[in-house]
Symmetry: C2
Subunit: 125 residues, 2 copies
């Protein structure tokens, strides 16, 4: 089995690629107990999470991930991943900084997203 940091990198690459090209497929990464906090709004369960992600006020978006940090979580096999990056939204020429944290839980030789927190980051001053 790959180490946690390789798994984290592969997950992040897959997640944003899927987000940017086939958002509906993200639903398969979540379960009924999964949580998303998106800009302070909480969502529980894959159906609600997918609905939120599909109804964001932009249809075309491109994520760039600049940093990926990972650590094993307290639960055996779980992995916590923090990403910083930028997103380019259709119709805007200014990338926006974001940060996102995932906690991945092992399931049947793969992983699903248990925790997901997303925030845009505005310039400090």
């Amino acid at each position: 089995m790959a180490d946690f940091s390789t798994i984290a990198s592969e997950f992040v690459k897959f997640y944003y690629q899927t987000f940017d090209t086939n958002r509906a497929a993200l639903g398969g990464l979540y379960r009924d107990t999964s949580m998303l906090t998106f800009e302070q709004q909480p969502f529980l369960g894959s159906a609600n999470i997918l609905e939120k992600l599909q109804n964001l006020p932009f249809q075309k978006v491109e994520h760039r991930h600049d940093t990926i940090d990972a650590q094993p979580g307290p639960e055996e096999g779980s992995i916590i991943v923090m990403v910083t990056g930028a997103l380019m939204v259709e119709g805007s020429d200014r990338p926006m900084s974001f940060t996102q944290v995932f906690q991945l839980r092992p399931e049947a030789g793969s992983y699903y997203v248990f925790n997901d927190i997303f925030r845009l980051v505005y310039p400090a001053a």
Copy 2:
């Protein structure tokens, strides 16, 4: 017992207040199994973590936390907390954006930091 979001807010307030006024006391928040990833550098255990935090290249710093998001972790009683904010370092007049994630684990009616990941966030463009 307070709910996870209240605990998260109180922890964040306490953490940065302690960081900014009495950094040595942060050691008590970590255990031997705790992990810190600080700007990509990994540290394991309270002694190594405290040494890193005490030897940052600034003695005086002020953290401002702008957003705090929390979710229960997969492990019973654990809490994942994501912070975005700014830090003002002595000798610089420009605040720097940062993001930090903590995973808190319950212990004897209180909590300690199991996961800690810190990154400065640079403007996207």
